[in-house]
Structures are given as C-alpha cells and as structure tokens.
C-alpha cells in the first residue's frame, strides 16, 4: 500500500513530462491526457484514504522510503514520503479540486493554441503540490515548495505576450523567493541544531533545545508561509497573479498553493507550540492580513482581484487559527478545506462569467447576469453564501470555529484577535455581497457599449474570434465547465456540516495536530450570535450601497481609504519606490564602480607603467656622448658603492 504514495506524484509528473516534451503531435489529445492523469492521481488518493480509514487512529501513517537523496557526512536528505491524516486531507483536496479544475479548463482553454502546455503546467503543479504535502523532511518539502512556485510562475505568465502577465509572474516568483529564503534558513537552523531536518527526529527533540532557537526557526518558517500564502508583508504578488488564466487562479491562488503556508505552520506545530512568541507573531500576521485582504477586496472592481483579496483574508483566518496552536490547528485545516471548495467554486464562476462576457473583468460592466447564466449564478451564489458564513453552509462552521478559537486564546490578545476575526467576518459579508450584486443583479451595464477595457488588451484567444464587436452576448458555459462548478458548489454547501457534525474532522486530524479546548471567556453560542450580527450588518451595508442605488459603470473617485485600497493600500507603491527604484540605483552605481574603480585601478596601473616607460625612453636620445656619460656615471656610482660597502 505504501508504494501507492509515490504514484500519487508520479502520475501528474508523467503527465507533465509527456505534455511538455511531447511536441505538437499531442496538441489534439494533450488536455485529456492531463485530465485523466489528474483523476488517476485522485483515484490513488481515494484508495489510500480508504486504506487509512481501515486502520485505527494511531497507526494512520504510511511511510515510503524511495532512495537516499543527498548523502554527505552527517547530512542525510532522503526521498521519503509520509502520508498521515494531515497529508491525506491535502492529497484529497489537491487531487479532487485539481481534477475538477482540469476538467473545467478543457472547456475554458478550448480556443488557446497552447492548451497542451497549459495542461502540462497544471500537471506539473499537481505533482509539486503533492510532493510538498507528502514529503517527510523539510528539504524535500522545499523541493515541492519551490516546485509549486515554478508552476505558479509558469501559469501566471502563461499569456507571456502580455507584459503585465510576464511581470506579474516574475513578481510572484521573486516575492516567493524571499519567503523561500526563510524556509532555507529555517532548514539550516534545524540542521545546525538537530543535525537533521526530517520531521520525526526534529519534532521528537524539540524539547531538548532552547526556546530561542525554536523561536528563530519558527519565525523563519512563518516568513516562508507569508511568502507562499500571501500574508502581510509578502502579500503583494497575489493580486497581480490574477493575470493568469482563471482556472489557475481557482486552483493555485485560491484552493491549494496559497494554503501551503498554513500547511507548513500546522505541520511544524511541534516547533510553534514550543515557541509561544513566534505563535503570537503568527496570530498577529494572520489578523492583520485578514483585515488587509478584506479591505482590499472591498475596493476592487476587477472581479478576480476582489476574490483575490478575499482569498488573502480567508487565509488570514487560517493563519490566525494556526497561530493559536492546538486550539486552532484543526479548524485552520478545516477552513482551508471548505475554503478550497467555495473559493474554487467562486473563481470558476467568475471565469464562467468572463467566458461569457468576452473576458471582461470589470464588475462595473456586468450586471443582471443571473438570467443569462443561471447555473453560474446558482453555483456562484451558493459559494457566496458559504464564504460569508451563512448558517448551515460550510463557511459557517469552519469560520465560526476559528473565531471561537481566537477568543479561546484567552487574555487580552484573545479579545483583540477575536474582535479582528469578527470584524473580518463583517467585511467579508460586505464585499462578497458587493461582488454578488454588481455581477448578477442591477441593470445590465454591459448593454450598448463596447467591452474590452483598453488597459487590458484581449488575453484569451477565446475573445479573439468573437472579439471586437460592439457588445457581448452573455451565455452559459458548456457542460464541461459547469459540472465542476456544480460539484464544488455541493462541496461548499455540505462540506462544513459533514466535517463538523460529531467533530468528524477533529477526530480525524487530532492524532497529528493534537487538540485542546482553550478556555473561552465567551460561550460558543455568543460567538455565533455575534458572527451573525456582523454578517447581517455587512450584507446590509452592501445592499444599501450597491443593491439600492445604481452602480456607476465608471468607478467614482471614492474616499481616501477606497483609493488606497484600490492600490492594495499603497503597499505596492512602497515596494516600487523602495525596492525597485532603490535596487535600480544600487545596481547602476555598482556597475559604475566596477567599471571605474575596480577595473580602473588595474588599467591605471598599466597606464602609469606605460607613461613611465615613455619617460625613461627619452633618456635614449641617440647621442653617443650622453651614453658615455651614463656609463661614466654608472662606473663612478659602481666604484663609490663598492667603496661604501667596505666603509659601512
């Protein structure tokens, strides 16, 4: 049974290899190869899951040692897989959602002549992501970690002819690299401290080492998590990442990859538990991000960017939960899974809308689409209800638990975090309602006006044929796209309930993550009530602003906060001024230095020797008598010197 684990990764990897090296002759069938292999991997996942369920809770861990990777004295990095409940959860999420999105892409990318490569990249991503979650040591995890980074780079920049896309891809990779720095330093620290970086030994010996070291390691891991999961201060790339095709946004930048950070923190729970200061930092990051993302989400008119903001903030929730320690781990993962469902669903819905609207992304040019694309409307709506935490839907359970846990942290920080979480819930309700209203309700602002906002020239070839004519004809997407949406909608409706009833999910994960009920100052019921209130407030305001009034199809100037939020709260401008500009200046001046100083010194020496030569050469003036003089002088000096030698 263990041997299946490798196949999890192998299947999509094979797909990637075949599709990327296969050449044009595979163009016809490429997408199906990719999709099938994704499902194959999912099938393996299910089999393994069944196997795990067959075992009793304590022995639900499969290990597979493939080969010794980098053996150097003392430094043992092996290719070993570990499949426990935590990994299993992710495997199912990744392969499940992944397969669905493969299916969806078959329709979505239909008109792109580079579809084969797209599926190659998707498979590559699946392989890397699976490797990430089933690795048994941090170095192998690092491979998956950067692997998904690469896949995301390739997919964000999939339409490379768009400079914006290429730039976004580069930005994503670079910001992630900063995070990766944290991860690699963390691994070095582990090696220096424990002499290994395999999960088992490290967690086993956490007790034997100082808290300082652990805090350092934990913070470095957190840095990595921030990079991957777009947490403040490394969140800036996620918004731009929406340049990628929508399925990519759904799979990578909503459901799976961006949650890797949460996985890392939860997986390293042992370390964090032993480093309370680090945990505090984690919670703070989470809280800040969940507000940050939410605020940004409120201001964006680009539907995908709005969703991206929401993703950011939802992951903020998860990180917050993860930061709470054993109280929160389980709920972090649970929210992660449910979020995987509804956010993927939302993105696919958005994609479907764009598909019907000639790739228009500006919500102000939508409106009243519900009767044109009913399926999309319903699935999107369910996802919407789920994310705002409408009672009974999955978001309700998972988010609610996190808020409780935040309060349960106890003490002042407990209150503060809880408050933030509640506030976040309210804002979430607001911006999601806004998206909903602007897209599906209100009058049809796309009528009699050419779409295609000039600043975003046609991306998808889909637009290129039924492209430039005056107004779009909104239409429902083909089955191959709607089916995945429906499935995901189902998941986002019932997932939460299924997990929470009888604490199924809790019992499933507890062996790995451990669990403890905090001492909550407020009862669960109260929290739920408060959440409901926030929910209603949020929805209410949104309805007041966007449901009642008509939405201007050109964005009003808006308040200072709005304008700031539109620009990701000026965080990008900061990056640009400080890092980009500063970097340019630095490099330019260094180039100058290298040329004038380092090189100049050498050339200068050479030149001076040449000059000296020129001067000495003039002594050779061609007159025999002056030569004689030098000889005579030389002789005199010679004699004098000899005598002097004797004298001294």
């Amino acid at each position: 049974m263990e041997n299946l684990i490798a196949l999890l990764v192998a299947a999509p990897l094979l797909g990637a290899a075949v599709l990327l090296c296969g050449g044009r002759r595979l163009d016809a069938v490429g997408h199906w190869i990719g999709t099938v292999l994704a499902f194959v991997s999912f099938a393996f996942g299910v089999i393994l899951f069944a196997d795990l369920l067959g075992k009793d809770a304590e022995h639900r861990t499969l290990m597979q040692h493939l080969f010794s990777w980098v053996p150097v004295q003392g430094f043992q990095a092996d290719v070993t897989f570990r499949l426990d409940q935590l990994s299993m959860t992710f495997v199912l999420l990744i392969t499940g959602v992944g397969s669905l999105i493969h299916l969806y892409s078959v329709g979505y990318m239909e008109h792109d002549e580079r579809r084969r490569r797209f599926f190659g990249y998707l498979n590559l991503f699946l392989a890397a992501m699976l490797l990430l979650v089933i690795a048994d040591n941090y170095l192998l995890l690092y491979v998956g970690w950067e692997g998904v980074g690469l896949a995301s780079y390739l997919l964000i920049g999939f339409w490379q002819h768009k400079p914006s896309a290429a730039t976004a891809a580069k930005k994503a990779f670079l910001v992630n690299r900063v995070g990766d720095m944290g991860l690699s330093i963390a691994i070095m620290l582990m090696f220096a401290t424990f002499g290994t970086f395999a999960f088992g030994p490290v967690f086993g010996h956490v007790g034997d080492t100082s808290e300082g070291k652990l805090t350092a390691i934990a913070l470095m891991l957190l840095l990595a998590a921030c990079g991957k999961s777009a947490q403040v201060p490394l969140q800036s790339w996620l918004g731009d990442a929406m340049e990628g095709p929508t399925p990519v946004s759904a799979l990578i930048h909503a459901a799976t990859m961006v949650t890797a950070g949460v996985y890392l923190i939860v997986r390293s729970g042992a370390i964090f538990n032993a480093a309370p200061n680090a945990q505090l930092v984690v919670t703070v990051v989470g809280a800040v991000t969940l507000l940050f993302g939410a605020i940004v989400g409120c201001a964006k008119d680009d539907i995908k960017k709005a969703l991206a903001g929401s993703t950011m903030s939802q992951i903020g929730y998860m990180v917050l939960a993860a930061g709470l320690g054993p109280i929160g781990y389980v709920f972090a993962i649970m929210h992660l899974v449910t979020h995987g469902f509804f956010k993927a669903g939302l993105f696919l819905g958005a994609g479907s809308v764009m598909h019907g609207m000639n790739d228009e992304v500006d919500m102000r040019k939508y409106g009243g689409l519900r009767k044109y694309m009913p399926v999309t409307f319903i699935t999107f709506g369910l996802g919407y209800l789920a994310i705002i935490g409408f009672p009974g839907l999955s978001g309700f359970f998972s988010k609610d638990k996190i808020i409780e846990a935040a309060f349960a942290k106890g003490g002042t920080e407990g209150w503060i975090l809880g408050a933030c979480a509640l506030l976040g819930a309210a804002i979430t309700a607001f911006y999601m309602t806004r998206v909903m209203l602007m897209t599906f309700f209100g009058e049809e602002r796309w009528k009699n006006q050419p779409t295609r906002s000039p600043q975003s020239p046609s991306a998808e070839p889909a637009a290129e044929h039924h492209g430039e004519h005056a107004e779009p004809h909104p239409h429902e997407s083909p089955k191959v796209m709607t089916i995945p949406m429906i499935v995901l909608a189902v998941g986002s409706v019932f997932g939460g309930a299924f997990f929470s009833i009888g604490d199924r999910f809790l019992h499933w994960l507890e062996p790995v993550t451990g669990h403890s009920e905090g001492d909550s100052p407020v009862s669960a019921a109260t929290v739920t009530g408060a959440t409901m209130v926030c929910l209603i407030i949020g929805v209410g305001i949104a309805y007041a602003m966007y449901g009642r009034r008509t939405v201007p199809s050109v964005a009003p100037r808006g308040s200072l906060l709005t304008r700031a939020a539109r620009r990701d709260l000026l965080q990008d401008d900061f990056n640009h001024v400080v890092l980009v500009r500063g970097g340019e200046h630095l490099t330019r001046s260094l180039v100058y230095v290298d040329h004038t100083l380092v090189d100049g010194v050498v050339n200068g020496t050479a030149a001076s020797v040449g000059g000296l030569s020129g001067r000495m050469r003039r002594l050779q003036n061609g007159f025999a008598r002056s030569y004689a003089v030098s000889m005579f002088g030389g002789a005199a000096v010679l004699v004098a010197a000899t005598l002097l030698m004797r004298a001294v």
Partner: protein, 99 residues
Amino acid sequence: MNPVNYLYLAALLFTIGATGVLIRRNAIVVFMCIELMLNACNLAFVTFSRMHGNLDGQVIAFFTMVVAAAEVVVGLAIIVSLFRSRHSASVDDASLMKL
C-alpha cells in the same frame, strides 16, 4: 721621487681622457681621448711593475700598445667611412637611432 706620483699622473691622464670622451664632438678627437686613457693605463702598469719589482706590468704595456694599434685600425676605418658618407666626423650628427 716617489713612484706613487706616477700613479697620480696616470689617474689624471685617465680622467682627462674620459672627460675628453664626454665633452668633445669630433669622433677622431674622442677616439684620441680613448687612446689617452689607454696610455694612462700603460703608465699605471709600468709604475706598478716598477714598484712590485716584477716585469709583468711592462710586458702588459706592450700588449696594450698592440691592442691600441689594432683599435686604431678598426676605429679609423669605421670613422672614416662614417665621415665619407656624412661629410662630418661629429659624433652627435650620428643620431638617427634614438628612443
């Protein structure tokens, strides 16, 4: 009188000769100054031989004369050919090659 004085004389002659080489332009004169230096050497040899009371020095003097004669032959040949082609015996005129 003290033979050492002859040595002083020799040194004096030698210096005169050397100075001549340095300051005179005409190749012939320069050459004569060199001959003068050689003769100064001869004087020194003879004097030393006298002082040491052996004949080596005097024999050497003869050798020197022969060598000087040979030098004259070669030297004059060269200088004359130079003079014929340049119509001047000035050493300084012969400075095509420099630097």
